[in-house]
């Protein structure tokens, strides 16, 4: 049995790995995001929690000798991660980027060595499958040879791996992903769709409080905007045998539009402004401009009080100060270019512009022509949902627009509150128009840690599947007992010993019942009696009906119930009864005492613990 559940997000721009040790106590299923050592500069390996999904094929002269040494390989043939991305920005011909998007692009032969796309003859090439396999192999090597290896921990290939794929991946792209995993030596791989993983990441972050926010029948719009891609999907929350299941009822295209486009748009805007005032920007300064725009954008998004951020492009070569160009990014620029440019307020029938097709097309990734993400969303909720096989069951307005009840954000771009708010604003204007209620804060689902959410969610899903899944109904968070006074001769000065009868087992779900048919107890009726209740947070194996005599510190007593159970005016009698217990949907424990002639008495106790919201 595998010791670890591993969730892997093989992202278009960044990959991540999260893991959970199943053998440690269930109390805290700690899901950890793993640090991934990688080359960040020649001669320098550093740990990062993300592995940029970039692969660089070194030519003879691209790196100094021996500067690519990794702890497990002194002379690797390929560079993967941050250094690949850095050096690839300088020598683009040797960089494989967006391998994942190529994996879903049916117009090319995805198993043929075509990447880097249109690179010169002398550059050895890989197929999108092989590139993806290389990333998985890298993660596997990191796991096997890192501290995991030293502590004698089992190899990754033996663990249960949950690998995420976009919901928009067709069967072939999924099959190719499986093949890439196989080639990388993974033996136990289950594919999971990213929007579902994102939802599970949100569940993890909520603890038990998720039941206050989501119920069966809800329709969740997952809005995932990352570095290079935008993916929309609709998930319906349902249930199977009391277990939460997520049904993906509609999925949009894998849109090649994302945070990188936004940063580039800002950079181009500033470049034009600088060139208009007589400055010349070369390609390296544009790179620096792009990078600084990204930093400035993040700062402006983070703190609403800041109105501008300075941008300084140092001169090239050794004319650093001499060539310095100064400018700034203002909040209005951000609003105009990003918010209005990529998230304009549009009506629900405004579809993305399609460029008029030129007869001959250069083959290459189909980048989105219209940068307005809100228009792509409109198209998704109208056209694409209409074409979904599940369309009939999807809540829609009069115009046929699908109307979600909740929205879940994922992807690095959605870290910016301003952008999330804009998406919600636009969506709400459509919902109101269709006659539905707007989404409030409770309907906006945000998992913390957006960059690692999919990997965490995949691991959480894996853990849930190991156990009984995520149960729709809350389960008792403790084991509950009632105190039964033992029948023993009186000893002066000593209380008759108390036995504990388990009436609610740990995890017993609200809305379920249990009975103890084979045993009778004496119920004191007709006079005031004290009904003692006990509970335990550590004895999780006790079953309803178990009678305990000795429990040390494991069981704690709660405040007793003082109650007089009536029996037809009779006073002070002991009636033999059998017990049935029920945990109601409101989280109350009902202990029903049933006499031989069918009379019933009820004891009630509130056992629902207040969860943090």
């Amino acid at each position: 049995m595998a010791k670890y559940i591993i969730g892997i997000d093989l992202g278009t721009t960044n990959s991540a790995l999260a893991h959970c040790d199943v053998t440690t106590s269930e109390e805290k299923n700690q899901i950890e995001v793993r640090s991934i050592p990688q080359l960040v500069d020649p001669n320098e390996v550093a740990e990062r929690t993300l592995l940029p999904s970039f692969l660089y094929i070194p030519g003879e002269f691209d790196f100094p000798n021996g500067s690519l040494a990794l702890p497990w390989d002194l002379e690797p043939k390929l560079v993967i991660g941050e250094l690949a991305r850095k050096r690839g920005a300088e020598i683009p011909n040797r960089l494989v980027a967006s391998a994942k998007s190529w994996l879903s692009y049916a117009a090319v032969n995805r198993s043929a060595p075509i990447l880097p796309w249109q690179a010169p003859e002398d550059v050895p090439k890989l197929s999108p499958v092989e590139a993806s396999s290389q990333f998985l192999q890298y993660l596997r090597t990191v796991w096997d040879s890192g501290e995991a290896g030293e502590k004698g921990q089992p190899a990754l290939a033996e663990q249960d791996v949950f690998l995420t794929v976009p919901a928009s991946f067709d069967e072939e792209a999924r099959e190719l992903t499986r093949r890439a995993a196989e080639q990388a030596g993974y033996d136990h791989v289950t594919l999971l769709e990213e929007p579902q993983a994102a939802f599970y990441a949100w569940l993890e972050s909520q603890g038990d409080a998720w039941r206050h926010r989501i119920k069966v029948g809800d329709l969740v719009l997952v809005c995932d905007i990352g570095g290079g891609t935008t993916d929309f999907s609709l998930i319906m929350v349902s249930e199977e045998n009391g277990e939460l299941t997520l049904k993906r009822v509609a999925v949009g295209d894998h849109i090649l539009l994302g945070g990188d486009n936004m940063d580039l748009a800002l950079a181009r805007f500033l470049q034009q402004r600088l060139e208009a005032s007589g400055n010349r920007i070369d390609i390296w300064q544009l790179q620096s401009l792009w990078h600084q725009c990204r930093m400035a954008k993040e700062k402006l998004f983070e703190s609403s009080k800041t109105q501008t951020r300075p941008i300084t492009l140092l001169g090239k070569g050794t004319k650093l100060v001499g060539g310095t160009i100064k400018t700034e990014l203002a909040r209005e620029d951000l609003n105009q270019i990003l918010v209005e440019g990529f998230f304009p307020k549009v009506a629900s029938d405004e579809l993305p512009a399609r460029q008029r097709r030129v007869g001959f097309q250069e083959l290459g990734l189909p980048y989105a022509a219209d940068p307005a993400i809100t228009k792509h969303l409109a198209r998704f909720l109208s056209e694409q949902v209409r074409n979904s096989p599940e369309a009939a069951g999807i809540r829609s307005g009069g115009s046929g627009l699908a109307c979600p009840t909740h929205i879940l954000f994922n992807g690095g771009v959605m870290k910016a509150a301003v952008l999330r708010d804009r998406v919600v604003e636009v969506l709400n204007s459509w919902l109101r128009q269709e006659g539905f209620e707007a989404l409030g804060t409770k309907q906006i689902l945000e998992a913390p840690d957006l960059e690692h959410a999919v990997a965490r969610g995949a691991a959480y899903y894996g853990m849930a599947r190991r156990g009984r899944g995520v149960r729709i109904r809350s389960g008792a968070s403790r084991t509950y007992y009632i105190g039964i006074e033992s029948s023993m001769p009186a000893v002066p000065g000593m209380e008759a010993p108390l036995k504990a009868l388990c009436v609610v087992s740990f995890g017993m779900e609200e809305g379920t019942e249990a009975s103890i048919p084979d045993r009778e107890f004496g119920l004191v009726v007709g006079e005031p009696a004290e009904f003692r209740f006990l509970s335990s947070s550590v004895r999780k194996q006790d079953q309803v009906g178990n009678l305990l005599e000795d429990w040390g510190d494991d069981i704690e007593e709660r405040s007793p119930l003082q109650v007089t159970l009536k029996l037809d005016g009779q006073l002070g009698k002991i009636v033999p009864v059998r017990l049935e217990t029920r945990v109601t949907e409101l989280g109350t424990l009902e202990v029903w005492c049933v006499s031989r002639d069918g009379q019933r008495w009820k004891l009630e106790l509130n056992i629902r613990e207040k969860t943090k919201r």
Partner: protein, 133 residues
């Protein structure tokens, strides 16, 4: 040049190389800055400052020697190391010494340099860059 084969030499070069790689400090120091107006110089300096700070934080953690406010009274206990604490002014009497802190001093807490490059890379502060079109 006949290079002395010493690790100390290589590490000194490496420290400058890191400040150049991430902060462009050497380009800055090597340039003749006299012709430039303060505003332009200032903008460049802010960028270099931020970048070089990160280099220090990352690779060589520094700490003040006397961690209290400058221009405020401070007491120096007996047994101090004159290499770490330099006395100025009316230096007389025995420790403990009461005076005013004028400079906190700096000492190295940690050195976390990456592995040295191989061979002639150890003489390089910054490689020359040649662009092909």
């Amino acid at each position: 040049m006949e290079r002395p084969a010493s690790e100390a030499f290589d590490r000194a070069v490496q420290m400058l190389a890191l400040l150049q790689r991430d902060g462009r400090l050497i380009d800055f120091l090597a340039e003749n800055i006299t012709p430039y107006p303060d505003a332009q110089l200032g903008a460049a300096v802010r960028t270099i400052h931020e970048a070089c700070r990160k280099v220090l934080e990352h690779y060589v953690k520094l700490e003040p020697i006397l961690n209290s406010e400058e221009d405020q009274p401070v007491t120096v206990q007996g047994g101090f190391d004159p290499a770490a604490i330099k006395l100025l002014g009316n230096v007389t009497g025995e420790p403990p010494i009461r005076g005013v802190l004028r400079h906190k001093g700096w000492h190295v807490k940690e050195v976390n340099l990456p592995p040295l490059p191989q061979g002639s890379g150890r003489m390089v502060i910054a490689p020359a860059e040649v662009e092909l079109s």
